[in-house]
């Protein structure tokens, strides 16, 4: 055999050895903790195989853009006051505009137009001019700023979710953005699915607001709410969005409550600890948020001194503490509502000014264990910080662990039988050459698995099918080559020449076929999520290894086979 051949063989042996090392821990069920085998990486199983929770969350930008525009409007007012630029009014308009582009309308004295224009142009890169009429500017957020807000909101959301999950304790969670407004969360092997969902979905926006008992006493507020409900035939039913119900009530209450006030509810639990859909306590609150959870320093679970129920205690940072101190000082004997995600948790009366910035959140009645869990989770979300936007569950998929096991068993069996059928067929049809093809296909599978482990890619159920399919497709390359060799033989060529010509002439066809396969696989990789992505990955890896095994491995073995024929002085090749 030539030097060249031995070099190629060494390369092949190296690849095979490497793949075996990569695949061994997975196939042998190696106990990585105890074993002294140097390589411990196992194949990554997808959620559909090992069980777990997969979620797609939509980030709701509506509120984010609304808040940003409101803030920009008031900052503009402050800025104009500071620069002593006179103006008549600053308003935000949203009606008839896309959600992410509310406008600010500034009305001013026409004579001051240039001064104001310069001020805005100079100090507000965040704003753009949409429209101008005499004495009136219409402004919108600039494009760059909107992109910036979107990016920041997405990144923050992912960050906050990650922090929460880290505290929850899931091994190898994956949190990633998808497109411009989605977050994909994958939690392998998670058991408490509902709890994980609550933990992730909670906005956890903590606010402190003063209860406006001076305008209406609690009885009057309750009366107003029940009147609105009756007049408009509006009732909250279980399973509906509570926030939508609250928003509707506030819309209808407009004019009946003082301006910049709002109605909020405390939800009442039944004895079992579930929220009672038919009971709630209404509050009239000043809309102004006095202190927010942004100024929270820490939150922990603790126990109520009187009834030993779990509560969540929190402490504020110095800035929050001084604001808290000021508010409580100004509103002694009034009630302070602790509002979490727009739901009132409690509204104690401020007895004296509270300095130091410590407080507590009570959770109401409920069964001990469940209440404890809830307190823990609340402390986690408060510590991890609020989500910058509300998240909606767009997709969620849960796979139980036993189903995954069952899927693996069936998938592997089906793939094995499929591959075996191909091997048997090709060995029957092409005899010795068929054995060569089967060998290279077997190595092909080994390479696919090795690369999967090496790249730390994820094997999913469709991915297992993808490996079987790779064999079905890879054998095509062998067939194309062999049929070509047969043709060359029929033309009267000697085995040596026929094999050379066969490999050479078939190469182009094989390349073309695999490139179009790869094109479809890449589209799948981009479009697909979760299990489908796993399929695309195995297909792509399979295409690369197929090219290698059909062209390189088979040829290598063929060269050796031709040599054997030569030695026997024979002119026939078994194909």
């Amino acid at each position: 055999m030539t030097k060249n051949w031995w070099a190629k063989l060494s390369l092949l042996v190296f690849f095979v050895g490497l793949s075996v090392v990569y695949v061994y821990p997975t196939l042998s069920g190696l106990d990585v903790e105890k074993s002294r085998f140097p390589f411990k990486q196992k194949i990554n199983l997808g959620l559909d195989l090992q069980g777990g929770l997969y979620m797609v969350l939509g980030v709701d930008f509506n509120k984010v853009f609304k808040d940003v525009v409101d803030r920009q409007g008031s900052s503009l007012q402050d800025g104009m006051k500071e620069k002593k630029i006179e103006f008549k009014s600053v308003k935000t308009v949203r009606d008839g505009l896309p959600v992410e582009d509310p406008h600010i309308v500034v009305e001013f004295d026409a004579a001051k137009r240039d001064e104001l224009y310069k001020h805005i142009k100079k100090d507000y890169w965040t704003l753009r001019f949409v429209d101008e009429k005499p004495g009136r500017f219409e402004l919108g957020l600039s494009r760059e700023y909107r992109v910036d807000i979107r990016d920041r909101t997405m990144n923050q959301s992912i960050e906050v979710i990650r922090n929460r999950i880290d505290e929850f304790g899931v091994t190898e969670p994956s949190i990633a953005s998808q497109g411009t407004d989605r977050v994909v969360v994958e939690l392998p092997g998670v058991k408490e699915v509902d709890r994980a969902k609550d933990l992730i979905g909670k906005t956890a926006k903590l606010e402190f607001k003063i209860v406006n008992d001076k305008a209406m006493n609690p009885g009057q507020v309750a009366e107003l709410v029940s009147k609105i409900e009756k007049d408009n035939n509006l009732f909250y039913k279980e399973g509906q969005k509570f926030s939508a119900y609250v928003a509707r009530i506030n819309e209808l209450a407009k004019g009946k409550i003082p301006e910049s006030n709002e109605i909020a509810f405390e939800r009442v639990r039944t004895v079992t600890g579930q929220y009672d859909p038919n009971q709630r306590i209404a509050y009239l609150l000043h809309s102004k948020t006095e202190v927010t959870g942004d100024d929270l320093q820490d939150a922990n679970v603790s126990f109520d001194q009187e009834n030993r129920r779990p509560i969540v205690t929190f402490s504020l940072n110095p800035r929050g503490a001084s604001m808290f101190d000021k508010v409580t000082g100004e509103h002694v004997k009034e009630r302070l509502a602790i509002v979490l995600d727009n739901i009132v948790h409690s509204a104690p009366v401020i007895q004296t000014r509270i300095s130091g910035g410590h407080g507590q959140i009570t959770l109401g009645t409920g069964e001990g264990d469940q209440l404890m869990k809830e307190a823990k989770d609340l402390a986690i979300v408060l510590r991890a910080g609020a989500l910058p936007a509300q998240l909606d569950f767009l997709e969620q998929r849960v796979v139980g662990p036993s189903l995954g096991q069952d899927s693996i068993r069936k998938g592997v069996l089906a793939s094995f039988v499929g591959m075996l059928a191909v091997f048997l067929f090709i060995m029957f049809y092409y005899r010795v050459s068929g054995v060569i093809a089967a060998t290279s296909l077997l190595l092909n599978v080994l390479f696919v698995l090795g690369i999967l482990v090496g790249l730390e890619a994820t094997l999913t159920l469709p991915g297992i099918a993808g490996i079987a399919l790779t064999v079905g497709i890879a054998v095509d390359s062998n067939i194309v080559i062999y049929e070509r060799i047969r043709e060359e033989l029929r033309l009267g060529k000697k085995p040596q020449g026929a094999v050379e010509a066969g490999f050479q002439k078939a190469l182009r066809t094989i390349l073309d076929a695999n490139v179009t396969n790869a094109a479809a696989a890449v589209v799948l990789l981009i479009y697909g999520t979760g299990p489908i992505k796993g399929f695309a990955v195995t297909m792509l890896i399979g295409i690369i290894t197929t090219l290698f095994s059909a062209v390189f491995v088979s040829k290598l073995i063929f060269d050796w086979y031709l040599r054997v024929i030569e030695k026997k002085n024979s002119d026939t090749i078994s194909i």
């Binding site: 509902d194 997709e395 998938g411 059928a421 297992i464 099918a465 067939i479 073309d512 076929a513 695309a536």
Partner: protein, 320 residues
């Protein structure tokens, strides 16, 4: 040398092409009409909805499951039995598996799995039942998945069109892409007729099919091009017919071996893999047919078309 198909086979495929084109046009038209009238039976991936797979004791038959769940007031409730396990191993260990489907708005869909669990907990203890799988897709997410799904098929076709155009030329690429379009649409048509559920796995299979189905076409095309260079004196009809006959063995063999694996997956794979493999089986058959009868036929027509245009241009050039 063992062979199914004799190497000197000479079937007049090209002569019969009008018949096969007619068959394909009818099948295509029927599929498209069905697509817009009857429509695909979309799974929750594309319509939104909830699906909960449960395993309950053998005593719970479909009537009982349905009756129990109806009391919970699940919207758009559908129950489907999908499997029996452990039968014969004593009635104690025997279980049944059901798929519970629900429709509704995003809020109520999210509750489906806990509602089902509450119903089961009323009479069963933990451990006697199992919630094996939950899929919830919001209505908005469903329609966006559907849109991007069809777009992805389009992108795959465009990629292949570009590649075949670069590797061959304009006489070949339309035939390859029309054949692929033909395969995808007729496979969809079969899904409409059988009303089998069309979900993400099926879509993935169709995309894989678009990639794979092109292989046979390329084998024929390569041979057509080679023969054109070797025998410039032959007409395009003769060339194509010769190419199809010469490559017939490998076209059938390659499809057959792939069919083996796909058939095994369909027979033994269970659940998700089963639907996936079914799609590929249908597609393989349609794809092999179109490689032989459709893709090459279009090459013949386009060759004539370009020749005529060339002749016209020459004529115009001579006059000028």
């Amino acid at each position: 040398m063992f062979q199914f198909i004799r190497p000197d086979i000479k079937v007049d495929f090209v002569g019969k092409r009008h018949f096969f084109v007619a068959v394909s046009v009818i099948a295509l038209a029927a599929s498209i009409v069905l697509f817009f009238t009857k429509g695909l039976n979309y799974g929750i991936d594309f319509t939104g909805g909830a699906e909960v797979q449960i395993q309950v004791p053998h005593a719970w038959d479909i009537g009982k499951v349905r009756a129990e769940l109806t009391t919970a007031g699940i919207k758009g409730l559908k129950v489907q039995e999908i499997g029996l396990a452990g039968e014969g191993a004593g009635a104690q260990s025997a279980v049944r598996q059901f798929l519970v489907k629900a429709q509704g708005d995003a809020g109520s869909l999210n509750q489906t799995s806990s509602t089902v669990e509450q119903v089961l907990l009323k009479t069963l203890k933990k451990g006697e039942y199992e919630i094996q799988r939950v899929d919830v897709v919001g209505p908005a997410a469903g329609s966006s998945l559907r849109m991007s799904g069809f777009l992805s098929m389009l992108y795959a076709l465009i990629c292949i069109l570009i590649y075949v155009t670069i590797r061959f030329d304009f006489r070949y690429s339309p035939g390859a892409v029309i054949a692929l379009f033909h395969d995808a649409v007729i496979t969809l048509g079969i899904f409409i007729i059988t009303q089998k559920q069309f979900d993400l796995q099926v879509l993935a299979a169709i995309l894989a099919l678009i990639g794979y189905s092109n292989n046979d076409t390329i084998i024929v095309y390569d041979r057509v091009r080679e023969t054109t260079q070797q025998h410039p004196e032959m007409t395009i009809e003769q060339i194509v017919n010769k190419a199809i006959n010469e490559t017939l063995a490998r076209t059938i063999l390659t499809s057959l071996t792939t069919f083996f694996t796909v058939f095994a997956l369909w027979l033994l794979g269970g659940g998700v893999i089963r639907d996936f493999a079914f799609t590929l089986m249908v597609g393989l058959v349609v794809g092999t047919y179109s490689s032989v009868f459709i893709a090459s036929t279009i090459v013949i027509s386009l060759t004539h078309f370009y020749k005529k245009r060339e002749a016209r241009q020459k004529l115009a050039g001579a006059k000028a």
